[in-house]
Amino acid sequence: MKLEIKDLGKHFGKKQVLSGVNLTIENGVYGLLGPNGAGKTTLIRMLAGVITPDAGEIFMNGTSKKNCGVNYYNKIGYLPQDVDFYHDFTGLEYLRYIATLKNIPDEKVGDKITHLVDQVNLTNDIHRKCVKYSGGMKKRLGIAQALLNDPEILILDEPTAGLDPYERIKFRNIISSFSKDRTVILSTHIVSDISNISKSIIMVKDKTTCPMTSADEMITKIEDYVWEVELPIQQLISFQNNHIISNIRTVDDVAYLRVVDREKPAAHAFHIDPDLEDAYLYEFNIK
């Protein structure tokens, strides 16, 4: 499966949200990274076919999305950022409804749902009404519906928001096993989700996408830019206002800061090993 995006752009009224987006996506997990309002959800919605681009085109295996018709949607599984459910539907009814929307044959639906419900750990709750589900359960139900049609391209917008650590690990495992011969595009703020499973990272910055990179490349780029600084707590606020700090740890009256900066931030600062969160802060906060 090959997805090519050429010169994609979108504006809402006078506001240009994205322009000149060029990407080639094949099998594997791609992390979409960027701050709030960068255009990640807009890009994802254009890929899912929910928004029409104002410029450019999307090609699936060489065929334009317009010419693919409904076949395009056959190959897509999409989990949006915010989905509520019909309150009087049970989880099972909801999945059957989505299966109908996706035109999945009746004879396959039962087994598929049983398997997916087990995978996302909702077997005991599937007959309860969706209105009684917790946030995490709703998210898991959303993931199950995205996988219903066995999509070749899985598009996930903030999929782990609201999941506890155990559920997040389980989700990552589901995605990893799913992505062997498929494409997964994962938009998230939780950097650890991307670092553990993404083959490539797509950064959305300045209303477009940067050339694809990887977690290792991003970290290598800033290996000399991450510092640890020790400060009295009284100086913390003024220091924070002038530097990018990825972590603060306090012991008694002393603050230990993890600082991202090209220049040495304090005389007694020393280098430490960077991680992907540091790299994210560097890319999106330092010009």
Partner: protein, 399 residues
């Protein structure tokens, strides 16, 4: 078909909607009972009135008419208005008969001599029609649209004959409750409330994201939702008519007058066709159902264009009340938009307006009855709404 069943579930077959419709039905039943229960009060009764009415059923009896008219005139001097006399007549069966027979005599008089409101160029009574036709013949205008229209009208009226007196008092009461304005407020507004959420629900739940990115989300979804909305419309409309009908006749347990001529009804004296009142009641239900289905298509289109249930509901009410809004702006405005006013829901859902008069339109030299042209307008509105809906859903995006 499966998608249609789910859409029907979302719109109609859920706890909230079922409770709403059940309460609405009880309300309609109450309206029906309340409408008819005061038709006979105190010393009067329907059975007593029926015995009196049966004695004078048939063609106009001048002696009876004169006696009844004298009694009513005396009451008019005491009570001042026809409306007050009518209320008084509910308390005494003889007075009731006097009132109803006098109304009947007026209708027979109108049949032969027309009414004071008639347009001289467009008369309704037998004698004025004959006079007008003679005038046109003398002027050598027998080939004109006006002559053909009036000639056709005269022939129909002669074929129908003069109205006859029948005991249709309960049916008159029924149709007082089935007047256009009441149907507008009691049926169409709740319908607008129920159906407005057909598309906006997907926006409020965020399900639009999933629907629009699915195989059936663009075209099949439109037909499923339109189908579900139509079923909802049919159910509510039938419940309205059944409940008000049952409520109207329940206090008296009698359908007397069902086989009488529709021209016996007070508002149908000018009708140029004949059928039984029961058949006309069925026609009324079908007619209003047709109007309601067209309204449903329009609301569904509006719902697909907007995001918010309340806004769609508000706009639907505006569509409903367009005729009233124009008329409130004054006759000079109405003249400019007369065609729109003629085919607004405020006029088209009224069977008395549609079938009770002589209104027609000159279409390429042919006299086309109001109701027939209305059907054409309904069909055009429904088709345009459906096409616009399909296009809208095809191009729909999340803003």
């Amino acid at each position: 078909m499966k998608l249609f069943r789910y859409e029907l579930r979302k719109l109609l077959l859920n706890k909230r909607s079922i409770i709403f419709i059940a309460l609405l039905t009880l309300f309609y039943l109450g309206i029906g009972i309340g409408n008819s229960i005061f038709t006979f009060q105190e010393d009067s009764s329907f059975s007593e009135y029926s015995m009196l009415a049966d004695k004078v059923t048939g063609p106009l009896d001048e002696t009876v008419a004169s006696s009844c008219s004298t009694n009513i005139d005396q009451l008019m001097k005491i009570f001042g208005s026809e409306h007050s006399v009518k209320r008084r007549s509910a308390k005494d069966s003889n007075t009731k008969l006097d009132f109803e027979y006098t109304q009947f005599a007026n209708r027979v008089n109108a049949y032969y001599n027309g009414t004071s409101n008639d347009d001289k160029e467009d008369p309704t009574g037998i004698e004025p029609l004959k006079a007008k036709l003679k005038e046109l013949e003398d002027a050598g205008k027998t080939d004109t649209y006006q002559y053909k229209k009036l000639d056709k009208r005269l022939n129909k009226m002669l074929a129908l004959g003069a109205p006859e007196f029948e005991n249709v008092v309960l049916w008159n009461t029924l149709y007082e409750g089935w007047n256009g304005l009441l149907i507008l407020f009691l049926l169409f507004i709740p319908l607008a409330f129920l159906i407005s959420s057909v598309f906006t629900k997907e926006v409020s739940t965020g399900m639009d994201n999933l629907i629009l990115s699915s195989v059936k989300g663009r075209t099949a979804m439109v037909f499923a939702k339109l189908g579900a909305a139509s079923i909802c419309c049919v159910v509510v409309t039938f419940l309205y008519f059944i409940a008000t009908f049952v409520g109207n006749f329940l206090p008296y347990m009698s359908l007397k007058g069902a086989t009488a001529s529709v021209r016996s009804l007070n508002f149908m004296s000018g009708a140029t066709f004949d059928m039984s009142i029961l058949s006309f009641a069925l026609l009324t239900v079908l007619w209003v159902l047709l109007a309601a289905l067209v309204f449903t298509a329009i609301i569904t289109l509006i719902s697909s264009l907007l995001k918010n249930h309340a806004t769609v509901f508000g706009l639907s009410i505006l569509v409903l009340l367009l005729g009233i809004v124009f008329e409130a702006l004054g006759s000079s405005i109405v003249e400019k938009v007369q065609l729109i006013v003629d085919f607004c829901f405020t006029n088209t859902i009224s069977v008395s307006t549609m079938f009770g008069g002589i209104a027609s339109y000159n279409i390429l030299g042919f006299s086309v009855p109001y109701w027939l042209l209305c059907i054409v307008v309904f069909l055009v509105l429904a088709i345009v709404s459906a096409i616009a809906l399909i296009r809208q859903q095809h191009h729909r995006t999340i803003a």
